[in-house]
Symmetry: C2
Subunit: 412 residues, 2 copies
């Protein structure tokens, strides 16, 4: 489970605003945990249903040695997290329509006949995913491979291009729950089926996810810290994860935060509260990149450190240091340095009055992965509840879609 570490730094001086934020955060947290909005019940149902996987999936797994996930946004980012945490090097991702990149993928594909394809789209009408599908099918047919025989589809059960294709070609099909939005779908069929193919323990994922419901105190705390940060006009929220295995997690969180919270109007139709832009960083790596901006740039950031106890340890000890710089590490493991750096940067930020808070989790194994996903989803839901917006839509992306079609049809 996630704990909040001490110390932290917050410069809020207006005690009335602070008290108000804390009350608001507690209230929002309670409401989210009780009412379970945004398809949380759909997520629970998926977690329960998929604790035993259907036999067809087992056959699909056994027939393939490599898997390519074709999806974009919420139909890819969470699965990339799972692959990174499990170091599943037999998973690849097509989450763009870059022709050059696409052609290279096919040129370097070792065993196309042993490759399984996962097409994922909530609506079933995502143009990038469908375009990739068409080009993949065309490309494989030149090798006399039938794409549909090597595919599975995860989408809603409704009249969409992807659903129809799966039915016409009798493709292995998994229904995505209607109530769950794409960016909240990693703990539904969307993420759980790839997770099982990677070797995740379904029960552990579920146990971890359910545990996060008990984190009401921590959720209220991080929610109120975020609200206070916005009152201080800190319009960038940094998630600074101290583990190389949380790179994709940062990008998953970035989508979750950006799409869920930035809304033009609130649920009353009034101008919505301004929120922060999410910026994911990795420690210690980005101490050699964005740290200078965090330390000497404007005080416009809340830094949320996410530390992993397991990454701050290590099996082997440095037996004999031969260098001045590493002398202090003799007889210690590599994680000792990572831990020292995380603590040092937290203290340095506090010293120059950059707002920060530190979260810690024991590891990034299966149960913790379930916990992490659910915890961060709940955090975002609590924030959305607190500022009274619709956390689950993304109206701002429509204009680009309309214009894309107009350009393709020559109307623009």
């Amino acid at each position: 489970m996630i704990t909040v570490l001490n110390p932290s730094y917050s410069s809020s001086s207006d005690s009335t605003l602070t008290t108000k934020s804390e009350a608001l955060a507690r209230e929002a947290t309670q409401k989210v945990l009780q009412q379970k909005p945004g398809g949380l019940k759909g997520i629970e149902a998926s977690l329960e249903a998929l604790s035993v996987m259907p036999e067809e999936l087992n056959l699909f797994k056994n027939r393939h040695s490599r898997f390519v996930v074709v999806g974009i946004g919420g139909s890819s980012l969470g699965i990339q997290v799972l692959a990174e945490m499990k170091q599943a090097s037999n998973f690849q991702f097509i989450d763009n329509v870059d022709a050059y990149h696409f052609e290279q993928l096919f040129e370097t594909m070792p065993e196309p006949e042993k490759t399984g394809w996962l097409f994922i789209s909530k609506s079933g009408g995502t143009i990038e995913t469908l375009t990739a599908l068409e080009f993949i099918e065309q490309e494989l047919s030149t090798k006399n491979i039938s794409l549909s025989e090597h595919s599975l589809v995860i989408t809603e059960k409704k009249d969409s291009d992807l659903y129809r294709w799966s039915q016409q070609k009798q493709v292995l099909f998994f229904e995505m729950p209607v109530s769950v939005g794409g960016r909240f779908s990693v703990l539904t069929e969307v993420g759980l089926i790839p997770a099982w193919l990677m070797g995740f323990d379904m029960k552990a994922l579920r146990t971890g996810a359910m545990e996060a419901y008990n984190a009401s105190d921590v959720l209220a705390k991080v929610t109120s810290e975020t609200l206070k940060s916005w009152q201080r006009e800190e319009w960038i929220t940094v998630l600074w994860s101290y583990s190389s295995r949380l790179k994709s997690f940062g990008l998953w969180w970035q989508q979750l935060w950006a799409e869920s919270l930035a809304k033009k109007v609130d649920i009353q139709g009034q101008p919505a509260a301004r929120v922060s832009t999410p910026l994911p960083l990795i420690g210690a790596t980005d101490q050699h990149s964005v740290l200078q901006q965090v330390m000497e740039g404007a005080r416009d950031k809340l830094v949320v450190f996410l530390r992993v106890q397991e990454a701050e340890a290590g099996k082997s000890l440095l037996q004999k240091s031969q260098m001045r710089e590493t002398a202090l590490l003799q007889g210690r493991n590599m994680g000792t340095l990572l831990r020292a750096e995380a603590e040092a940067i937290q203290q340095a930020l506090s010293e120059v009055q950059v707002s920060n808070i530190s979260l810690q989790i024991s590891d990034v194994r299966d149960q913790s992965v379930g916990y992490l996903f659910m915890f961060f989803q709940l955090w975002v839901m609590c924030l959305g509840e607190a500022i009274q917006i619709n956390t689950f839509d993304q109206p701002g992306v429509e204009l680009g879609k309309v214009k894309t079609k107009k350009i393709l049809s020559g109307q623009l």
Copy 2:
């Protein structure tokens, strides 16, 4: 070469400020191109010297089938860009001190005796890099492999841990020019030696880099657009690259921008001008992630689109569309969609008054890679010159280093 595409959107209404920014940008650009600060001459010297590679490097290359680059920040990010652009899958990177990640790397290493190690650090005293070196040496010795026989070192020629190690163990050594800072070093030994190992054409890289000196008009334009954006208090600068092969480039640019521009004081010792935080995105992918925040969040961003003509093309055409959503793509290549999306998002942003400018380059092949690196370095130098800061130091990262040592020695 890079061109500025039309249309763009900028809401600056104060014509006096606009005129002033443009004059300032032109002046700064001229000065940078004439005076060549920050080791530009050192870069030119490296590019010239390494147009022919020494024979020892050829031997090093032939003895190894895989390479691991051990470095962090400016000693890694640029090389990651090169590896991504060349799809050099035989290159791996250690740019952190995450014990779990490190152990996994060794567990899955296919041929440790055929692995060549590149240790890179400007100062030669980077604690993360040296710690990794010590653990690698220890780990390999259990397999009876001598690390020093399979290594090369790139660092300054001075009394540092890394330089001493290279001399004591007679490791293949390349000197890094003293005048060039780490984050500006990709076109010196730091990047050029790995680039050559990946198969880059040294002459093409150099030709491209030199060509960027001729881009004074474009440089003045992007510099003035950035200055105007800061006047409008747009404190986030987005580099939105429409190509999957520019992911690492975005992270390289993020370091360059963040470390170079965010300074507490200017060269007179006065409080420095506030600058933006860099946020790299990928198109079309991040249309399904951060776009909602860009469209409906606060108007606190300048979006710089970076488009690649080659990514907007594609060899194969979609012969027969079988779906409603892809009907408009029949008979067209995949890049048609990417281009339409890039244009659509640019227009959508303009329509909701989000500041944006579009840059285009023909491809990301060798010559263009040299150009891209140099162009973006010059842009940052022009900005630093315009706001009269020291673009080449990073004083804000020192406090964390001091505290790390104090924590390791038990003083904190």
